[in-house]
């Protein structure tokens, strides 16, 4: 038990990422409000980005910028690729959020509510 706890504490970035992921997942699944669902989705994205970025980070090293006149060695720098991937991921996540907000706006315009259950109820009533 103690061993597992120590491991969780050692990899605290990953632990935090997993906890965040589940918070986001639960928000996405259990909330009826579309805006809250979108927020949940964003939390999931942040969790994956934290997970990814923490894997490229090495304690005590800096971002890979070479200073002129100073010899650059591999041992000085962190792995820059995960950071680059996170940037790409953020762009994707922003566009997905924008699209979802547009969708939520249209749904609100048509049904006057952001509650998924109410929207489904109204849609069924409209069909009959």
């Amino acid at each position: 038990m103690k061993d597992i706890l120590m491991r969780l504490m050692d990899n605290y970035y990953e632990t935090a990422a997993v906890i965040l992921f589940f918070i986001g997942f639960m928000t996405l699944l259990l909330h009826r409000n579309i805006i809250k669902k979108i927020i949940g989705m964003n939390i999931i994205d942040s969790a994956t980005f934290l997970f990814l970025a923490s894997n490229g980070y090495i304690e005590g090293r800096v971002a890979p910028f070479a200073t002129p006149g100073v010899a650059a060695t591999v041992e000085q720098f962190v792995n820059p690729i995960p950071t680059g991937l996170v940037l790409t991921g953020i762009v994707v996540s922003v566009s997905v959020s924008a699209f979802s907000f547009a969708l939520a706006y249209r749904l609100n315009q048509r049904y006057g509510t952001l509650d998924v259950d109410e929207i489904l109820f109204l849609a069924r009533g409209g069909a009959q």
Partner: protein, 497 residues
């Protein structure tokens, strides 16, 4: 091979993307439609040249983006299979936008018609990129682009039901791409690569050394489940019927015919290049895919049986047909991938034709999609009815139609193991019977001559749709008769895939 041919994969992706961008300032929907048709024709021609050249020379092209060499740069790779799929995708995109032309201009608001074609072009570009890319993170980015574009295509018919369908579709797709992203992140952490060939070597090394066994199994599960959700195989099929029944004809044809297939191709690519078929078989994942496929074909056919709405029925049938493809992936150890790829081609052609015909028949009767209201429609809209009938016969798997060919290859792929052979044969027969049970009544209904319904003999089917459906029918029947060369070519292509 000339320099131009080497650049075709890159050109076709860029051309499709730029077509979307230059459509933005064009306000007129009709002009945007012309641009889309033109671009798709050009890409179809270029991809055909590429396919012809690759088949003749037997080479594969690896294109380093921006001339950065392999471990650092981003790669595009084109072999015979990629070129075949590019030809298939551009052809189906072209026929869908031609065949559903009347519906697009009727269903989408006049002010926003040009936007429809922007998303259509972007979707095409994203799917081409998914076919050609050799980098797993690029694949993730284009998965997201295709997801957004596909959602916009569903949303284009601006009704309450289509908005709800889009929301459902988006949530399912987000779940799928989230799992896929997690999978590739862990894969990057344990191998240190993103390019597929390097990843493949990294995975082989991990397996040989016996390291990271559990993370690797997790990665395979995450990637496979993520892509399975996106390709709407059985337990994840719930967003399909809603999305397809409310979208406009072209959107349904493309969503069902192509978008699902793009993810399946990516899955096949991941299996052959990254995880290796051997690992998939040894870890038992292929058996899971086989089981999913078998249960999926039967279960979704049963759901389709309950539907009286034509488009919802076809949507469930799509999910059932995806089950066949997963059965093919499940039999990867015994050459099932040939069957899977053959069925990708068969289903993309027949299902898009079916949606175009169904959409046009529904339009003849004032957008009514209930089968009871489509009785006798064949005597008004002959070409659409003939196309629908041919597609339905192919779905059931009647010999001389292409649906039969892929089932034949599926059965032969399972031949090595008696138990699997029996199970696959049983699933195939059961699903064929079920397919017949819902498609034959629909076909009979549209060809019947009801006394209580006035047949409008003045109706003339749109010329463009007639031409498209005729060409597609001929192609489908030709594929049904000459499936052997196509399957042989796929077999040859898979060796270097």
């Amino acid at each position: 091979m000339s320099l131009f041919v080497r650049n075709i994969p890159f050109f076709s992706i860029m051309l499709a993307m730029f077509a979307g961008i230059i459509t933005i300032p064009i306000r007129k929907g009709r002009a945007a439609w012309y641009i889309t048709v033109m671009v798709e024709t050009v890409i179809l021609a270029m991809s055909s040249v590429l396919l012809f050249d690759l088949v003749r020379s037997g080479e594969t092209i690896t294109f380093a983006m921006g001339h950065y060499p392999a471990p650092w740069g981003n790669e595009i790779r084109a072999g015979i299979l990629e070129a075949m799929m590019a030809v298939l995708f551009s052809g189906v995109m072209l026929f869908s936008v031609l065949g559903g032309e009347k519906d697009i201009f009727a269903d989408v608001m006049p002010k926003k018609q040009n936007l429809y074609f922007i998303t259509y072009d972007e979707l095409f570009g994203a799917m081409l990129a998914l076919i050609y890319t050799n980098d797993i993170f690029t694949a993730y980015v284009f998965i997201e682009i295709s997801m957004l574009a596909a959602s916009a295509l569903i949303m284009a018919r601006d009704s309450g039901r289509s908005l709800i369908a889009t929301l459902r579709y988006l949530v399912m797709m987000l779940l799928g791409s989230g799992l896929f992203l997690l999978g590739i992140i862990i894969l990057y952490v344990i191998t240190g690569h993103l390019l597929m060939p390097d990843l493949g070597r990294g995975v082989a090394k991990i397996v040989a050394e016996g390291m990271y066994t559990r993370p690797l199994l997790c990665v395979i599960a995450l990637v496979c489940i993520g892509l399975a959700i996106k390709s709407a195989v059985f337990p994840f099929h719930t967003m399909l019927p809603g999305a397809h029944s409310v979208a406009t004809t072209t959107s349904s044809a493309v969503l069902s015919g192509l978008v699902l297939k793009a993810y399946i191709l990516l899955l096949i690519k991941c299996i052959t290049r990254v995880f290796s078929i051997e690992l998939m078989v040894n870890s038992g994942y292929t058996d899971v895919a086989l089981a999913l496929g078998m249960v999926g074909t039967v279960a979704c056919s049963m759901f389709a049986l309950r539907e009286s709405d034509m488009k919802r029925m076809i949507a469930y049938s799509s999910s059932a047909q995806i089950g066949y493809i997963f059965m093919g992936i499940g039999l990867a150890g015994g050459g099932g991938l040939v069957a899977a790829c053959l069925h990708v081609i068969v289903h993309a052609m027949t299902k898009s034709m079916m949606f175009i015909c169904a959409g046009n028949m529904a339009r003849t009767r004032g957008h009514k999609t209930d089968i009871r209201q489509l009785r006798g429609v064949a005597w008004e809209n002959r070409p659409a009815a003939i196309g629908f009938t041919v597609a339905a016969l192919s779905m059931i798997g009647i010999p001389l139609f292409p649906g039969f060919a892929s089932k034949l290859y599926l059965a032969t792929a399972a031949y090595d193991s008696t138990l699997k052979f029996a199970l696959v044969l049983a699933a195939l027969l059961l699903s064929m019977v079920l397919n017949a049970m819902y498609f034959i009544p629909a076909v009979i209904a549209i060809w019947s001559r009801p006394k209580d319904i006035n047949i409008n003999s003045e109706y003339r089917a749109p010329k463009l749709m007639t031409a498209c459906v005729t060409v597609m029918t001929v192609l489908v029947i030709a594929l049904g008769i000459y499936f052997k060369p196509v399957a042989d070519l796929i077999g040859r292509a898979l060796e270097t895939f």
